[in-house]
Amino acid sequence: MSNSNVVDIKDMKVHFDIKRSLSQDIIRKNKIILKAVDGVSFSIGRGEILSLVGESGSGKTTTGKAILQLAPLTEGSVDFLGEEVRQNDKAFMKKFRQEAQMIFQDPYQSLNPRNIVMDIVAEPLDVHGLVKTEAERLERVRQALEQAGMSPVEEYLYRYPHELSGGQRQRVVLASSMILEPTFVVADEPVSMLDASIRTGILRLLLELREKKDLAYLFITHDLSLAWLISDRIAIMYLGKIMEIGKPDLIIHRGIHPYTRALTAIMPQPGVNKRNDRVILPGETPSPIEELKGCKFNTRCPIAKDICKEIEPILEELESGHFVACHFAKEI
C-alpha cells in the first residue's frame, strides 16, 4: 500500500438535481441544483476519528454517504486504502463493502422490523457468503453481540427490534456493522436519538472497538462538545464546504473561522454560570439551493468585507494540521 490513509477524498462534490414543478418548468429553463457537498477534501488515517460537525443542511451526512458510494459523486474522487473507489469495479466494491461500514442515526429506522436480531447481525455474513455452517454463523453472531455488550446473548438472539430499547437497537446495529471487522466506519449521529444516560455506553463501545481493531471513524454530529470529547480531529462544515479543520482543543478554544467561533460561543457548558456576554449569530443558514457568490458564510459573517462577497476563500494551512477557509484567517 502506497498510502497509510484509510480514506482520502479529493474535491468531492455532490449536487442533486431538484425535481421541479410544472410551473417552474415553464418559467425558467435552467435546472435547480442543490449543492449538498460542494468541494470537500480531507483524509482519515488508520485508527483515527475525524468528526464532521455542522448544522442541518451543511452536507455532513451526504459527505459520509458519498464516501460509501451511497450518494452519487458529481465530481472528485474517493480513495480507500490508497486505491480509487470505482463503482463498476465489482471485485473492488465487494471488498470495499466489507471494509467500510455505516451506522445510521436512527436505530428505529435502520433495522428491518420483521427480522430477528440473529438474522440482522448475520446479514453481512450471508451477503458475502462468509460462513458455511449454521453453527459457525451462530458463533460469529454470538461473538459480535458479546463485543457490542449484549449479554447474555441468548436473551436477545430471537427478539425482534421492537422488543428492544433504543440503546439495545443501536448495539445491534453496531454488532452487525462490526461483524465483518471493517477498517473504516461512517457513524452518522449514532447517539443523537438516544437518552443521555445511554449515550456514553455506545460511545465507550465505539472507542473500545477503535482501540482493539484500529478502526477509523468519520463521526458525523451536530454536537461540538461531543466531537471534542471523542475525536482526534474536527472538521467544521457549512453549506457543503469545510470551514475549518484541526485538533479538537484548537477548534474549541482557539478556533479561527468566524463560524467556528459562533458555534463555540453558544456551546453549553454545564455548571458554568450564565454568560451574558455570549454572542448569538442572528439569522439562519441559507438554503443550499441558493447561488452564493464568494464565501458561503458571507451572509451571516460578522466580519465580512467586500472581498468575501466576491472571492471564495480556499482552505489554507495556518499551522501544522490546522486549516481555515477565511480571507482574514491570519488577522483574527
Binding site: 448544522e55 442541518s56 430499547s165 440503546g167 437518552d195 443521555a196 444516560s197 445511554i198 449515550r199 456514553t200 455506553g201 460511545l203 465507550r204 472507542l207 451536530h222 454536537d223 461540538l224 462538545s225 461531543l226 471534542w228 470529547l229 471523542i230 479538537p248 474549541i252 478554544h253 459562533a262 458555534l263 453558544i266 456551546m267 453549553p268 457548558q269 454545564p270 455548571g271 458554568v272 454560570n273 450564565k274 454568560r275 455570549r278 448569538i280 449569530l281 442572528p282 439562519e284 443558514t285
Partner: protein, 322 residues
Amino acid sequence: MTLLEVKDLKTYFDTSKGLYKAVDGTSFDLDYGEALGLVGESGCGKTTCALSITRLLPKEGKIHGGEILFEKTDLVKLNDNEIRARRWKDVSIIFQGSMNALNPVMKVGDQIAEAVVFHEKVSRKEALKRAEELFELVEMPAKRINNYPHEFSGGMKQRAMIAMALACNPKVIIGDEPTTALDVMVQAQILNLLEKLRKELRMGLILITHDLSILAETCDKIAVMYAGKIVEIGTVDDIFMRTGHPYTQRLISCFPNVGKEKILPPAIEGVPPNLLEPIKGCSFYPRCHMGIPICLEIEPESRELGGKHFAACHRSGEVSHE
C-alpha cells in the same frame, strides 16, 4: 403569592396492561418571572407533568391526586369549560413539533388573530394589530404576519408559535422541548428569546428538556425527574455545584464539558423501571453506584439540603461532584 404551585401531583394512565404511574407524587412551585427547568430522560414523566398542568391529557390519563394551584385556584378541580377559558390566558404551552401545527393554507397572522378573537372580545382588526405587536415581541418583522407558514424557516415558525402562545398574555408559559428539532444556532436564539420575554413580561417559564446542558444558562431552578418523581430540585448552582442525588451527578457527567478534563464519563447502567409495576425502595437503586441496603427497602423522602435545595436520596449528603 406564588404563581404556580404543584403539590403531590399524581397522573396515571389507564392502559390495557394496568395502571401506568407516569407522574407519581411531584411537587414544585414557580414564581413570577422565574424559570424552572424540568429535566429527565424519555418516559420520566416530564411531558405528562406539562399536560397535567394544562389539562391536555389524552383520555387514558387521569389526575389521581394532588393539587395544581394557579394563583390559589386549583386547576385540577376546574371543569372542561373553565379550563379551556384559562388555558391560553393563564397557562400557554409550546410543544416540540408545534411549528408543524400551523395551518399551511392560512396566513400566520390570521392564525394568531383567530386565537386572540377566540379568547378576548376584540374585533378582528384589533386582533391583527395584536399579532403585529406579538411578532415584534418575538423579534420578527411585523409585516411577515401576512406570510404563509411555508414561507417561514423552522426557527421562524417556532417564533410564530411563541408569539401565538403569548397572544393572551399568559402568566405561565410551558416549553416542552421547544428547541429540540432546531439547529444549535437557532436553538440558542429561541432560548435567548424566551429568557428575554419572561424577564420583560414577568412570566413564569417551565422549560422541559432532556438536555441538561442547556438549562444552566436559561433557568433559575432545575428539577430532575426520574421514574415519575422529582429526585432533586434546587437552583442551578445547587444542582451543578452541590449535587445531592447520584442520578443528577451521573446525568451531569453525561454531557461533555469542554472546560474540563477530557474523560469519557461512566455510563448509567441498566434501564429505568417499568412504571406499570410497584417499585419498592428507591426507584433509582438498580442503576445507582452508591446504593446501600436501606435503598432497597425504604423509599427516600425528599430532604432539604439547605435553602430550597431538596434531594430524595438516603446518601444525599455524600454525593460528591466529581
